[in-house]
Amino acid sequence: MPIKVENLSKIFGKKTKEATKLLDEGYSKEEVLEKTGCTVGVNRATFEVEEGEVFVIMGLSGSGKSTLVRLLNRLIEPTEGSVEIDGQNLATMNKEDLREIRRTKMSMVFQKFALFPFRTVLDNAEFGLEVQGIEKEERTQKAKEALDLVGLGGYVNQYPSQLSGGMQQRVGLARALTNDPEVLLMDEAFSALDPLIRKDMQDELLDLQETMKKTIIFITHDLDEALRIGDRIALMKDGSIVQIGTPEEILINPANDYVEKFVEDVDRSKVLTADKIMKRPETVDYDKHGPRVALERMREQGLSSIFVTDRSRNLKGYVTAEDARKAREEGVSQLSTIMKDDIPTADLETSIQDIFNIIHDAPVPVAVTEDGKLRGVIVRGAVIAALADGNEVNGDGA
């Protein structure tokens, strides 16, 4: 368990004690500001990050996410609460221990890169080792390895101003990787890059993560980004964490209106429609086939249910594997006896937003129909994938 955060708070202002008390009594951020003049940066954040996990903290600007990440390495002093890394409480340790943690266990990547303009790419990457007093030879070697890793091996003698934004952030990433930390704090690391480069960097980070297996805490305001790279996502609002979950959990079970609204804001949910993400459906014929065929097809395709249509592909219902198995054992040969017709359906033009609501508590995939004819099927995973990865969506079904 590399990182365990408990009741971590930051209150900016003078009357922090009073403000803490008001928060305990359940007053809101605005009310606390009004009564005490204190700004609540982070309000009792509690979460744990697993080793090797990409943990995304997401929120709009002003939600406290940047403050929170700075509390984790104490660039900002916490008002109360604890940050445990490998069992040591970072929030209370002395300056020397803190420095040691920063040097060896945690590195940070910054939104605006924060490269030293008067240092070459190599010297920038060496910085973390340089302050530790590591020999020049060793740190050069390690810095070069890190630069190779991010694909900048050929640029060691350039200055940051000679590089593009994407390359500069690679230097920032290399600098953070050079001292081989356990935890990587990335504060809106890709937000300053243009969308195409941003996507490349996300992919590259994921590739690197395959081999590095670092614990990454990634701050972003961009839900798409969070969905793409996060193993788990923590959503912040007004300094509080309102929901923590896997991307799927967040999308399908928004904890409250705020999260729901966030999810709605995913652009594509308005643009993408059912026909763009549906797949070709597996079916059995109502008139021709019995439970045995249905069961066989489900087994071949690895499905737990299958749609039933008539000869002209009019949707009749579905059978589940369980029912089909039972029917076969009992020697029933007609599908009609075990067929269910409480099928969740959608039109070709139904938006992803609405499909969420349908798929939410449906027992089987959503059937996409046109004039009663089955045209495609949408599984839960496709919805998530489409949201997380809109650019690659294309209708390979129907």
Partner: protein
């Protein structure tokens, strides 16, 4: 009148008393400084005056050539200007003035940069030092000559002292400003990688603030130059003394000639320090 009822406050007497006391109390500091530093100044100026002028002119011209990025403009100006000063028989005075400016700015910078760093690191220090700097800069420069004489007698040493007080504020202010202007993310980056306070200062803040600090150094040097001219009133030798004596005799010609000498020196020093800043 109500105002007439307020008794006269003897501020002037107080300052007199204060300066007298300081002179007495610290004579054990002032006297060795006067002797030792005075000797250093004399030796430096005399040695410079002993070097054949042509060597100095060539050396300065070469420096100018390289400092200005291998351009001939500044080098040419340097050669013509220095030959002109020599031609007017003011070479020795020029050497004295340069020595004074050199030591006065050196001391200003050596004291000013650390004070500026202190100011940038501590809000309290900034609050205390800022009004002191304001005072030092706005008080008419002539006023400093009086305690300077009390402490160090007459000659070059009080000139350097007065110049130090008058010329130090810019480098202090610019150092403070330069360090405070370093972007927050860069400071955070150095903290986040576990730099100590000193590492942060020397590896990040000072390099980042270098240009601003050098602009302050340039200001300080120019103020030193203006002050050592005024310091001729308390017996500091050099071009200023020529101006002063021309003034006393209402002699426009020699006054302007010595004035030109100062302008030439000022331009050379200014361009040199500016080019130091540009390099890289």
């Amino acid at each position: 009148m109500v105002l007439d009822n307020i008794p006269y406050i003897p501020v002037a007497d107080g300052v007199d008393w204060f300066v007298d006391q300081i002179t007495d109390w610290f004579s054990f500091v002032f006297d060795p400084i006067k002797d030792g530093f005075g000797w250093l100044l004399d030796v430096s100026a005399d040695s410079l005056a002993m070097v054949p002028p042509i060597f100095i002119i060539i050396l300065v011209a070469i420096l100018a050539f390289f400092l200005s990025g291998k351009k001939f403009g500044l080098a040419t100006f340097t050669i013509i200007g220095l030959i002109f000063v020599h031609n007017q028989g003011l070479w020795e005075e020029l050497m004295f003035t340069f020595t004074l400016v050199f030591y006065a700015s050196l001391i200003s910078v050596l004291v000013g940069i650390p004070v500026g760093i202190l100011m940038s690191k501590s809000k309290l220090a900034e609050n205390i030092i800022t009004p002191v700097l304001d005072f030092m800069q706005t008080m008419p420069a002539f006023v400093y000559l009086i305690p300077a004489v009390a402490f160090f007698g007459i000659g070059m040493v009080p000139g350097v002292f007065a110049s130090f007080i008058f010329a130090t504020p810019p480098v202090v202010r610019f150092t403070n400003l330069g360090i405070r202007q370093v972007s927050k993310e860069l400071v955070e980056a150095s903290d986040a990688f576990g730099a100590t306070g000193n590492q942060k200062l020397f590896k990040v803040e000072l390099p980042m603030a270098r240009r601003t600090i050098m602009a302050g150094v340039n200001q300080t040097v120019m103020l030193s130059l203006s002050m050592v001219v005024i310091a001729s009133m308390i017996g500091a030798p050099g071009l200023g003394r020529e101006v002063l004596s021309a003034l006393q005799r209402a002699d426009a010609g020699p006054g302007f000639v010595a004035g030109f000498g100062i302008v030439i020196l000022a331009i050379i020093i200014d361009r040199f320090t500016q080019n130091l800043n540009k390099e890289k």
